[in-house]
C-alpha cells in the first residue's frame, strides 16, 4: 500500500555509487522523520512519565497524596475476582454494542445525504453539530426529564398511545439503552462530519461513472461511497471502539458516580474514576486502567482486522476500474 517513494525510477537513473546513494537516501528520509518527530518528542516529554508513573502505581497502595507502599500484584489479583469490575466490563460492551453500530450507520447515511447537495445543507450541518457542543450539565437535566420513569416525555408519549411506560432509569436494560441513546445522540453528528470531510475527497468522476452506468442512490452508496471511504470508516470504527470502551461522561452525567440502580450503568472508566477519585484508591484505579488498556488493545486489533481486511485493495481496484473506463 502507501509506499509512494518509488525508488525504482531513480535507481535506474543513478549509477551504482553506494555512498552517494546512501547520502541521497538519508536526505530523502530525514525530512520524514522530522515531520513525524513533534508527536514523539511531546510524547516522550509529557506522556511517558505519567504512563510510567501509572504503571508503577498499579503495584502500589496509594491514596493520591500520602505515602505509597508496594503491594506487588495484589491490585491485579483483586481485580480478577472483583465482581463489580466484571460487571462494568459487561456493561461497557453492551452499551458499546448498542450505540456504535447505529451511530456509525446513521452518521454515514447523514453524511451521504448532506453530500448530495440538497437544499439547506449548511443549516443541516450546523444542526447535526449542535449535540457536540451542548453543555453536559444541560444534557443531564434534559435526558433526566425526557427519560424520567414517572414524569418523562418518552413515557408520557408511550402511555398516550396506549403502550406501557418503560422504567428507563431504574431497570438494567432501560439504563443501558438510555446511555446508548445519549451516545448516539451526541456522536452521530460528529462522525457524520468526519465522513463528510472524507466524502469531499472522493472524486466526483466515480459518481459520474456510476450514474452513467445507471446505478441508483443505494447502489452508489454501497458500491462507490462505502469502498472509497474504507480508510475513514476504519478510523471511525477504531476511535469509536476506544471511545466506547472508555465511555464515562454520559453515564456519569446521567446517573452520577455510582452508575445508577444496581450499577447497571457502571462502565469500566466510570468504575476506575470511582476508585481513584471518590475512593482515592489510586493503585487499584491504575490496575483497572491497565486492564482496560489490554482489553481495548485486543478489541482494536480485532476491529482493525475486520474492517481493514482487503480494504485498500478495493479502493485501488475501484480507481483502476474507473481509470480503465474513463
Amino acid at each position: 500500500m502507501s509506499t509512494a517513494i518509488p525508488t525504482r525510477p531513480r535507481d535506474a537513473l543513478t549509477p551504482a555509487d553506494p555512498t552517494a546513494k546512501r547520502k541521497r537516501k538519508i536526505r530523502e528520509v530525514l525530512p520524514l522523520y522530522l515531520a513525524i518527530s513533534p508527536f514523539y518528542l511531546l510524547f516522550a516529554v509529557f506522556g511517558l512519565f505519567p504512563i510510567l508513573f501509572s504503571i508503577v502505581l498499579s503495584f502500589m497502595d496509594w491514596d493520591g497524596m500520602g505515602e505509597m507502599s508496594f503491594v506487588g500484584l495484589a491490585q491485579y489479583k483483586f481485580l480478577l475476582t472483583d465482581g463489580r469490575f466484571w460487571n462494568s466490563v459487561g456493561n461497557t460492551f453492551i452499551i458499546w454494542f448498542l450505540s456504535t453500530i447505529p451511530m456509525l450507520f446513521f452518521a454515514m447515511v447523514i453524511a451521504f445525504l448532506l453530500h448530495q447537495n440538497i437544499r439547506f445543507t449548511k443549516f443541516y450541518r450546523v444542526a447535526f453539530f449542535l449535540p457536540n457542543v451542548t453543555s453536559m450539565v444541560a444534557m443531564a437535566i434534559v435526558f433526566g426529564s425526557v427519560f424520567s420513569d414517572t414524569f418523562g416525555l418518552v413515557n408520557s408519549a408511550l402511555t398516550a398511545v396506549g403502550l406501557d411506560a418503560v422504567p428507563w432509569l431504574s431497570s438494567p436494560w432501560g439504563i443501558k439503552i438510555t446511555i446508548a441513546v445519549m451516545v448516539i445522540w451526541r456522536f452521530t453528528g460528529y462522525n457524520a462530519i468526519i465522513y463528510l470531510a472524507g466524502l469531499q475527497s472522493i472524486s466526483t468522476d466515480l459518481y459520474d461513472a456510476a450514474k452513467v452506468d445507471g446505478a441508483n442512490l443505494s447502489q452508489v452508496f454501497f458500491r462507490v461511497t462505502v469502498p472509497m471511504m474504507r480508510p475513514i470508516i476504519l478510523f471511525t470504527v477504531i476511535t469509536s471502539t476506544i471511545g466506547g470502551l472508555s465511555l464515562f461522561t454520559e453515564p456519569q452525567v446521567l446517573l452520577g458516580d455510582s452508575g445508577g440502580a444496581g450499577e447497571a450503568g457502571m462502565t469500566i472508566v466510570l468504575y476506575q474514576y470511582n476508585q481513584a477519585f471518590t475512593q482515592f484508591d489510586f493503585g487499584y484505579g491504575s490496575a483497572i486502567a491497565w486492564a482496560l488498556f489490554l482489553i481495548a488493545a485486543i478489541f482494536a486489533i480485532i476491529n482493525w482486522r475486520l474492517v481493514s481486511g482487503r480494504g485498500d485493495d478495493t479502493v485501488r481496484r475501484a480507481v483502476r476500474t474507473k481509470e480503465a473506463r474513463g
Binding site: A35, S135, T188, Q219
Partner: protein
Amino acid sequence: MTALKPAAPKSTADAHRPNAHYVARGRLVAVVTHLCVITGVLLSIFPFYWLIVMSTSTTGEIFGYPPKLTVGSSFAENVRSVVSSVDLLQALVNTIIVSTASAALVMFFDSLAAFAFAKFDFPGKKPLFILLIATMLVPGSLSLVPSFILMSELGWVGTLQALIVPGAANAFGIFLLRQMAAGSIPDELVESARIDGAGFFTTYWRVGVPLLRGGLAFLGIFTFITAWNDYVWPLIVLVDPERQTLQTALQNLNSLYLTDYGMVMAGALISVVPLIGVFIIGSRHFIANIAAGAIKG
C-alpha cells in the same frame, strides 16, 4: 472486491433515456430524504433548544413540573449574575488563545506526520505507527498528579503553555489525516511532484495540504472545541484567578449547597455560542471534488 462490477454491464443509454417516471421517483426520493434529515435535525436541536429555555429561566422554573418548554424571561438577569461572578472577558481571551494555538499547532504537526505516514516509506514506519495508535489506548485520567509534578518542575504551573504544548501534536489527528490522505491523495500526484524535483516539505505544502483541506478543517474545529471545553487539567494547573479559562471560571458558579441553575445554564450557553461560529467558519472547507480537480490540473 467488486466495487463497480454489477453496475458495469448496463449500457449508458439506459441512464440517459428521458423518463417522466424517473423524474417523479427522484422527487419522491428527495422528499423522503428531507423528511429523514429533518427528523434527525429536530432530535439534534431539541436539547440545545432546551438549553436556551433553561438559560432564560429561574432555577424554580427549570425544575418545575411539568417542565416548561417555552423561552423564559430571566435571561438578562441570569447573564448579569454570570458577569458579576466571573471575569468573563479575561477568561474568554485566555480561552481563545489556548484554543486557537492548540488548533493551529495540531493541524500543522498532525498533517505533516500524517502525510509522511500515508505517502512515504521510511525505516521503522510500521512500529512507529503502531506505537502511535497504542498511545491512543493509554488511560489518561490518572496522569493528573505526575503531569502536575512535571509542570511544577518546568515552572509552567499557572501558565497557558501548560494547556497548549503537551497536546500540540496528537495521535488522534495523525491517524485521522493519515486515513484521509491514504484514500484521497493519489500516488500519481506525489510522484509527479517528486519528478519535478520537489522535496518532502514542498510536496506536503503543494499536494498534501490542499487535498487534506476537509480533514484539516474537521481536525481544527474539534481540537478547538476540545481545548475550549477542557476542564479538569486547566483546573489543576491554573492557579491565578486572573488567568482562568472559560470552563474553570464557569465551574466556579457551582457552589456547595445552592446552585443557581439558571445562571449556570446562561454561562453554558455563553460558552457554546462561539463554538457554533467556529464550526460555521470551519465547515466552509468541506467542499466536494477538490481531489478530482487537482488530478485534472
